[in-house]
Amino acid sequence: MGFKLVLAQVSQEELRHEILHTWEARDAWKIPLQIGSIDISINKAVWFLFLGAALTFLILFIGSRALKNRPGAYQVIVEDTYGFGREFLGGQVGQEGMKWFPYTLSLFVFILVLNIIGLFPNSYPVTSNISFTLVLALLTFILTQYMGIKKNGAGKYFKSWTPPNLPAKFIMAPFMWFLHLIQEFSKPLTLGLRLYANILAGHLIIFVFLGLILYFGSFLAIVSVPMAVVFFAFEIFVAILQAYIFAILTQVYIELAIYAEH
């Protein structure tokens, strides 16, 4: 931080603010609320969370109300979204998992809508907030463990964490069980971090490219703007991909727990 750039038109502090302004404005559009000492104020992130949930519901709801036997384009999209959930999300490991595809499909559409909303300038990408993604991942974790215990019984489920036919069983079995325990916790952690990091990084890269113009001068727009556009386009792809990855991994984790014994 100590060195000075000759062409600097803005200070590094200002530049950092320009790049991070989306995430720094935590108190924007705020309605202060509290439960005890816990802050539950409705701020910009929460507003966009509401918006995303409302849009998710409306897109699917309107599609499900206007159902006809000879479908129009919109109905086909909604039905295909449902069909996509049934065919590509549910039943990854076995038929028991089909029960969970409406949940993961909801996750998919919800995260996708939030990702897309986040791409609009001056919005807030809720999925780039680690609190948000980790809570969704925590839900996945809770459901996974719940289904594992419910379907197999607690004893069998936890026993299934040690692979069968281990050599030197007395030492290896607890060790492998412990490894699996770590894995069980790292699953939701990576799930949450992956979505958060991808969306955050995408937005940051766009802002960094545009921030370079502020820092080095407007001539850099020749490079920066096309690059920002390219990354923006890539972000649309990432928005879909990450929503899909989050949904399918949730589905797979739950189904793996259901079929833990096999």
Binding site: E24, R26, L33, D39, F57, N69, S131
Partner: protein, 178 residues
């Protein structure tokens, strides 16, 4: 609770967002599960059923059409067969008719000829008989006139008849001898 990161890019824990996220997501799930997924599921199932039904119907119709075609072909075949039979029969009938007509005509002709011959025969015989009586009468008259008395008629006739027979035999013998 204060966030551990002042920039906000590692916003943990953001209690308000977490709180509202859980509530919003729960409501969203409830709404989707109650109002959105059941009708879509029904609609897809219904369409699937109607498509399956349509396919079944099409299959049935095709089968029927094939059967019908088969039937028609058979009928046409049968009709041709029948037509051929009728033609054959007609031809045979015609032939028989012709034969019969010919035969009848021949018979008729034979009959006519026979009748004519009989007629001729009869005519000749009656003519002969008349001539004979005439001759006998004339001979008797002549004889009566010459002799001057009447002869016993029966005797006389017998004589004449015999001489006529002899004459006839002579004529016949001469006729056949030639």
């Amino acid at each position: 609770m204060q966030s551990i990161d002042p920039t906000g890019i590692f916003d943990l824990p953001n209690t308000s967002l977490i709180f509202w996220e859980v509530i919003t997501f729960a409501i969203l799930l409830a709404l989707l599960y109650y109002f959105v997924y059941p009708p879509i599921k029904n609609q897809i199932r219904q369409r699937q059923q109607s498509i399956e039904q349509a396919i079944d119907e099409a299959e049935k119709t095709r089968k029927e059409a094939r059967k019908l075609l088969q039937e028609y072909r058979q009928q046409i075949q049968e009709a041709r067969e029948e037509a051929r039979e009728i033609r054959e029969e007609a031809r045979q009938q015609g032939q028989a008719q012709r034969e019969r007509a010919k035969k009848e005509a021949r018979e008729e002709a034979d009959r006519i000829i026979k009748r004519a011959q009989e007629e001729i025969q009869r005519e000749r015989e009656s003519a002969l008989r008349e001539v004979r009586q005439e001759v006998a009468g004339m001979v008797m008259q002549a004889s009566e006139q010459i002799i001057g008395r009447s002869l016993d008629r029966d005797e006389h006739e017998r004589l004449i008849s015999r001489s006529l027979d002899e004459l006839e035999a002579e004529v016949a013998g001469a006729g056949s001898g030639r």
